[in-house]
Symmetry: C2
Subunit: 200 residues, 2 copies
DNA sequence: GTTACACCATAACGAGCGTTATACTAGTCC
DNA sequence: GGACTAGTATAACGCTCGTTATGGTGTAAC
């Protein structure tokens, strides 16, 4: 159905799958190359180093996640639903990825030792960028939903969001997304101080 | 002030500090031994393997965490406060550990590849045990606080709990504990359906 | 004194990993 | 045909790491 992928994308797909399913440091570049069906030399021709490959994988994943979130927002009808669309996006994003994968940024953050203070690791920069993007979006959507304190609501939603990812990472059986969504709704309504939109 | 530590505890302390500050797979046993001030041979005499050492560190940490939680519960005065004591325990636990450390179980889960289905990794067993213990406790405390649906409240609190740990793991600047605590309180009250305890 | 024990220093083995070098093949464009 | 590009296979280098072996030191008990 899909057009045949070029070498670069095949490598990125294989790296994404292995890095975030098995762990980053435990998967060698040789296994990435083998999974992608390319030679190791080709991988290095394209990406130069494992760290660079990881960076590109993360960047692409951030793009994908943003797109899924945008689409979920577009599907929503009310401002409140638009604010809650993050959790719907988690579901569709996970469904789009082949196997069960955790949050790549969470996994990356936990595997990498903290950079030695004063040095800026480009991978850490991506992680920071991810968090910041999510926070800003949530705050904007909270404002549009009429929350009197958008920043605080955004902080709580970010907490629930991170909680969902961590729960998935831990491999908990129950579906955390639905719990997070309903909790978020009740928080939003409590924050807005209006029960006018309450329907059962 | 404290009595001089024996060799075994010195190794455990060093391993805990290095594993959960730098990452597990990136810290070698030689560095653990050097930090503890013991020979590598001694480390292996005591623990047999790195995996075994990790397991003992996790077990001890689970004990410590439980004790901190118990103390926080004992300090609380109302059933609601007892349910919210998890978040206070996070603060005191983090303060008791020397440097800023993340959730050891979260970090471990993300670094270890999933066991090959049908095989039971003892380390994974500890992680599962950790989650289960927290869930059960939260459900019991929620029941004692008069929540009509304790399981659901416990699930949301676990979500917030995981969210706090993940936020700390990501190194976010704002203090997530206070946000989680206030969000949890509003969830609990909404669940209890009673606003009689509302003050301010 | 010697036996037992806990610990140390050093070295080595074996494996895996990230990375690079060398040499080869096939298609494409002028 | 010749230059260029993209890819392959194979091998090697250097490094780190987990683990083990060997031999030695000090101390307390009997």
């Amino acid at each position: 159905m899909a057009p045949p992928l070029n070498t670069r994308d095949r490598i990125l797909n294989a790296a994404e799958e292995l890095f975030f399913q098995q762990g980053i440091s435990v998967t060698g570049v040789d296994r990435v190359a083998a999974t992608a069906g390319v030679a190791i030399v080709t991988l290095y021709k394209h990406f130069g180093s494992k760290d660079n490959l990881l960076r590109e994988v993360l960047a692409r994943r951030l793009d994908n996640w943003t797109r899924h979130w945008d689409e979920a927002i577009a599907r929503a009808t009310t401002p409140e639903e638009r604010l809650l669309a993050v959790f719907d996006a988690i579901d569709t994003f996970r469904a789009s990825a082949n196997p069960t994968q955790w949050c790549s940024f969470l996994a990356t953050a936990s595997e990498r030792p903290a950079p030695p203070a004063g040095q800026n690791d480009p991978v850490f920069e991506l992680i920071r960028q991810d968090t910041q993007m999510i926070t800003e979006r949530l705050a904007r959507l909270a404002k549009e939903a009429g929350c009197p304190d958008p920043a605080s609501v955004a902080a709580v939603l970010l907490l629930l969001y991170n909680g969902v990812l961590a729960s998935l990472l831990r491999g908990e059986p129950s579906n955390p997304v639905t719990h997070a969504r309903s909790a978020a709704r009740s928080i939003i309504r409590a924050s807005a101080g209006t029960t006018r939109t309450a329907r059962s």
